[in-house]
Symmetry: C6
Subunit: 70 residues, 6 copies
Amino acid sequence: MELVPGNSLITASPEDGRALAVLMARNTIHAVRPDVEVLTNTMDSETLTAAAHIVSIEFATIAAANDYWR
Amino acid sequence: MELVPGNSLITASPEDGRALAVLMARNTIHAVRPDVEVLTNTMDSETLTAAAHIVSIEFATIAAANDYWR
Amino acid sequence: MELVPGNSLITASPEDGRALAVLMARNTIHAVRPDVEVLTNTMDSETLTAAAHIVSIEFATIAAANDYWR
Amino acid sequence: MELVPGNSLITASPEDGRALAVLMARNTIHAVRPDVEVLTNTMDSETLTAAAHIVSIEFATIAAANDYWR
Amino acid sequence: MELVPGNSLITASPEDGRALAVLMARNTIHAVRPDVEVLTNTMDSETLTAAAHIVSIEFATIAAANDYWR
Amino acid sequence: MELVPGNSLITASPEDGRALAVLMARNTIHAVRPDVEVLTNTMDSETLTAAAHIVSIEFATIAAANDYWR
């Protein structure tokens, strides 16, 4: 599993950047918690909420990398 | 459901930027917790507070994208 | 209720910027938890502490918008 | 009580900037929880730890405002 | 144990940068909690989730250091 | 106790910067919780994990101050 899918932070659009943020959060949580399927209902609610928080941080990095797709 | 409604981080005003931040937080939490209606009283209080936290992070990204509407 | 009071992130001073950060945190928490009076003792202590955390993030954005009132 | 003591983010040194960060975190937590003496042992441990977290975020803003005292 | 493996934030690619972020998070958590093997199932789920959160913050710093590998 | 050891954010290397981040997190937590030895096993696990989180935020500030030691 790649930690950064495609090995690049550059995406064509904000939507693609957001999808990349979700994947990066998912992969990292999966890397540290291989026993759970990430972002499914088998996770407890606290972890799922934390996942959404992590997505927002990853997206901030990706948005800056893409100069906010301006 | 779009992860980034309108597929753009550029908005006409801070108020519109804040509304976009709320939508992005809502959509991401909904994506990871499809069983709950996000930002309603069916969510537990911890998740609702976390949602407000995530909104503040999304808004920071959107505000930078818009050069703070200066 | 406006999400961004005055629809602007620009303020005359750091004190005004901090007050705006408090209002934005308050409005967002109120938007997601209409059943509570925000920043009063009817909130549980965890939510109150989270509110202070969110204020610090909002203020970081507002301070950057104002080029730190330098 | 001022939210931003001195109504300025500019300080003479990193040490002064850190002290300002502590004051701003303290004032905001006090503003939202007037029933407790902030940063004393009358606070529960979770809130005290959160206070340290908030100090780190306030300091990041203050350090940027001062161009890191370079 | 080095806190920053290789004593540099510069990496050849986003994937390498992400791996560095994981190592830095791991080393810091290990430094403060020497009794646990970090990022294994001997950690409780809350700490594992916090580890993923910390990785996202470290990665933001590393990505900026590398000008986002643009 | 100094809040910012050496009263400067400038360090010779990333490793030194990381060590400074650990000291700043330690000093701040100690300032707000004088009853505990910070970063030892006398702290509860939640506080130790929060300490690692705070280190990551302090390090982001220090890294920017040093222009990422590029």
